[in-house]
């Protein structure tokens, strides 16, 4: 695959990872694969912006070599230290050992602690400029979007934003730009990316976007480090980020449960019927059969969460527990919830999940619904009403 031109003398030289299905260990499922986007700017100074995941280093080198010999690289911009963007850095630095690496102080420390390379680091701060010849790069530190070291680079003359992971999506494709693909697919992946990676840092996302909007700089292209490049209407993804970061929701409910002998499942299905009959959008997931990355993605624009679990050893079941542990760390705001479950004797799961909701700041709007063993006709009716009541509060 040849390098792809973004604008005059700026090229995509990254790699497409078609087959990766697990990311960050097992915390993220990449159902549509991903890409590692690196960019080459050819000017008086040859500049590489980010690299790729280590196993794709040869592809990066091949693609750069189609344009210029990698020995000619003068500057490497490291917007983010994480290994999916820096893994090929040692390979690149062997080819151009005198190149200067421009990055934040935290990135310098992190890159050293990852690779222990004796490289020429140049620490940059927000507003610093780097003249490349005809083109000029400037930098905007963006701590915790999504690591302490993160920064955005901006190529002034081309109004091109290189924000690394922000605005990215795990989406493998033979195409590079949003005007060439089914953008609804890409948006699904952008939602999942925000929900699973950036949601906890929403207050910082709002501040950073407002800070950039105040600079009043033109933005023609946003080229993230994963997935598709936003060339057509790039402000759309920025506005979507603002909405997600402000925790704006719609009347929609996500129901997630774990069940032992299908009683909690019976309850879940009836609760969902109550919600549906109230005219509120709803998604139902058995935590053990579902893609958790997708479930979290569906939770991003939902006002209401309903969680259910059977009781085992006085506690909730362990896979819903793991799911809630992850969910709680996302720090959702302005949401309401309720809890249900079946148990044999003393129960425990409902109480426990309610405690997690309280810690996570989810407002409990109705008393938890507990059923002994298998729900009878009357209890099934209660489940239906439980769903209906909750749906009314979500509207």
């Amino acid at each position: 695959m040849k390098p792809i031109k973004l604008v005059e003398n700026v090229y995509w030289v990254g790699a497409v990872d078609w087959s990766v299905r697990k990311f960050h260990g097992h915390t993220y499922t990449t159902a549509r694969g991903t890409t590692y986007n690196a960019y080459l700017i050819v000017d008086d100074k040859v500049t590489l912006v980010d690299t790729v995941y280590g196993p794709f280093g040869n592809e990066l080198v091949e693609r750069i070599s189609e344009i210029v010999s990698p020995e000619k690289i003068d500057y490497v911009i490291a917007n983010h230290m994480e290994t999916d963007h820096s893994g090929a850095l040692p390979q690149i630095m062997k080819l151009c050992p005198k190149a200067k690496i421009y990055c934040t102080q935290k990135c310098k420390e992190g890159l050293y602690k990852n690779y222990y390379g004796n490289w020429d680091f140049q620490v940059v701060k927000t507003g610093d400029k780097l003249k490349l010849g005809k083109k000029t790069l400037t930098f905007i530190e963006s701590p915790m979007l999504h690591w302490p070291d993160s920064m955005f680079s901006y190529l002034i003359e081309d109004a091109l934003v290189l924000p690394n992971d922000a605005f990215g999506q795990h989406y493998a494709s033979d195409k590079r730009f949003n005007d060439e693909v089914d953008v609804s697919e890409v948006m699904q992946e952008a939602v999942k990316y925000y929900a699973n990676i950036l949601w906890p840092f929403s207050s910082l996302v709002v501040k950073k976007i407002e800070e950039i909007q105040k600079l009043n700089i033109p933005i023609k292209i946003i080229a993230p480090s994963h997935g598709i490049i936003w060339r057509k209407d790039p402000t759309k993804i920025v506005n979507a980020y603002l909405s997600w970061a402000k925790n704006e929701t719609k009347p929609k409910v996500v129901v997630v449960y774990e069940t032992m002998w299908k009683s909690t499942e019976k309850m879940a299905r009836k609760i969902v019927e109550g919600i549906v009959d109230s005219g509120v959008e709803v998604k139902l997931y058995d935590v053990n059969e579902s893609d958790k990355t997708e479930v979290i993605g569906e939770m991003l624009d939902s006002k209401g969460y309903v969680i259910g679990s059977s009781t085992h050893d006085n506690s909730m079941l362990n896979n819903i527990a793991g799911f809630l542990e992850f969910f709680k760390g996302l720090k959702p705001k302005n949401r309401i919830g309720c809890v249900f479950g079946s148990c044999g004797w003393a129960g425990g799961a409902v109480r426990e999940i309610e405690e997690i909701f309280k810690t996570a700041g989810i407002e409990l709007v109705q008393t938890g619904l507990s059923v002994k063993y298998v729900p009878d006709e009357n209890e099934i009716k209660k489940c239906y009403d439980f769903g209906k009541d909750f749906a009314e509060k979500v509207k």
């Binding site: 530190e141 701590p143 915790m144 302490p148 207050s203 910082l204 700041g361």
Partner: protein
């Protein structure tokens, strides 16, 4: 003196210890930190901190 916690990463600012690496002497109250002081762990600004012991918004 009250400790303050970074809501982004969990770092705790202890006025008794200060943040000497960034020029903040021990004994400096959180309220007296410069406006451009940021969390030494994650870089979050001052307004992302909550007083320890207070309910987290």
């Amino acid at each position: 003196m009250e400790k303050w916690k970074c809501t982004i990463c969990g770092y705790i600012y202890d006025p008794a210890v200060g943040d000497t690496e960034h020029g903040i002497n021990p004994g400096t109250k959180f309220e007296n930190l410069p406006d451009d002081w940021v969390c030494p762990e994650c870089g979050a600004p001052k307004d992302q901190f909550d007083r320890v012991g207070q309910p987290v918004g």
